[in-house]
């Protein structure tokens, strides 16, 4: 029998946590550190940025030192990239800095929604796979795009639930269910738009393999408690999925096994 402790596959690596956590926007390095341990995540996302003209003014080192000490796997992103060429260059720099071939591939095509530019995304994925990267593409729920990414060599897909940081939860449930059905052997992670623990549980209940989120924890009143809430919600959703959720029906079925009405013969 499967249990909630079964492993999740990320390319050639198997891990036990289904919770991928972003590291941006926390009130302090100490709160981030506590949230990381509370979440029991095994994967942390990070970015890279151009240094200031006065390089010594950089303040990012404290955070990186702290994150490095946790010993968690790093999933670098290509945030801010608008073209395949930019994303390919940034991914290579991230590989050199973080010493990992993993990359969360982001190529944004719309400023208002931060929706991925799926044309550039596929182009970048093809090249990065060729260069030896394990590509985690941040994509939409579009099945054709998903197929192109899989054809390019992606073994993990990360469709959005809703626009990044919006906290709306899953806005296109049916499309995500279809994606799960069509790509049963691909590791599917819901990335972006998650606001509440119940959103994460819903993603897991419909069969997703994991959830990646950042703002919902970092911007919570109590990020550490929220990390715990998401940890438990993700586990509960996965357990529910494995246990087999009953299909909804438009009519009632009595759950108490009485024979008709108790006082009517």
């Amino acid at each position: 029998m499967q249990t909630t402790h079964e492993l999740i596959q990320f390319g050639d690596i198997q891990l036990s946590s289904r919770f991928l956590m972003g590291t941006a926007g926390y009130p302090s390095p100490q709160v981030l550190e506590s949230a990381i341990y509370a979440s029991e995540t095994e994967i942390l996302t990070m970015g890279i940025k151009r240094q200031a003209a006065n390089v010594n003014a950089s303040g990012g080192k404290t955070w990186w030192d702290l994150i490095r000490k946790t010993g968690k796997r790093i999933l670098p992103n290509t945030a801010g990239c608008r073209t395949a060429a930019e994303a390919i260059a940034l991914a290579q720099m991230a590989r050199e800095i973080f010493q990992t071939n993993w990359v969360k591939l982001e190529v944004v095509g719309d400023d208002y929604t931060l929706q991925p530019d799926t044309f550039e995304l596929v182009k970048a994925a093809e090249k990065l796979v060729e260069l030896g990267f394990e590509v985690f593409p941040y994509c939409t729920e579009d099945i054709v795009v998903a197929q192109r990414l899989v054809d390019a060599g992606c073994r993990i897909l990360m469709p959005w639930a809703a626009p990044i940081g919006s906290g709306q939860g899953i806005t296109n449930r049916e499309a995500l269910i279809r994606l799960r059905d069509r790509f049963p052997s691909v590791t599917l992670i819901v990335d972006a738009g998650i606001g509440a623990p119940s959103h994460a549980a819903e993603a897991m209940e419909i069969g997703f393999d994991g959830v990646l989120l950042n703002s919902a924890i970092a911007q919570a009143k109590d990020p550490i408690q929220m990390a715990i809430a998401f940890r438990d919600a993700i586990r509960a959703g996965r357990a529910g999925y494995l246990a087999g959720i009953i299909p909804p029906q438009p009519f009632a079925t009595p759950s108490t096994p009485v024979t008709g009405q108790p006082f009517t013969l």
């Binding site: 972003g22 590291t23 941006a24 926007g25 926390y26 981030l32 996302t45 990070m46 970015g47 890279i48 940025k49 151009r50 240094q51 200031a52 003209a53 390089v55 010594n56 950089s58 990012g60 080192k61 955070w63 990186w64 994150i67 670098p76 992103n77 945030a79 060429a85 930019e86 390919i88 260059a89 940034l90 290579q92 720099m93 991230a94 050199e96 800095i97 973080f98 990044i164 940081g165 989120l213 950042n214 703002s215």
Partner: protein, 66 residues
């Protein structure tokens, strides 16, 4: 000759390579990644990358991210 480092113009000697320029600016070579004109230059290749007038050098460092 003039090149730009992270958006700031500086004067360097003709024929300077990327590794030397970074070193002269006090940039720790192990703590950043580099690109010239938007193209990645791997750490071991910095000393072979001769800079030309108006080249745009960028150095990158880790930040928190989602």
């Amino acid at each position: 000759m003039q090149v730009s480092i992270n958006g700031k113009s500086i004067d360097i000697a003709q024929g300077s390579d990327l590794a030397t320029v970074l070193s002269e600016l006090g940039i720790q070579p192990e703590q950043c990644a580099t690109a010239v004109n938007g193209e990645f230059v791997a750490r071991p290749l910095r000393s072979e990358r001769i800079l030309h007038p108006n080249d745009q050098v960028m150095t990158f460092e880790p930040i928190t991210g989602g």
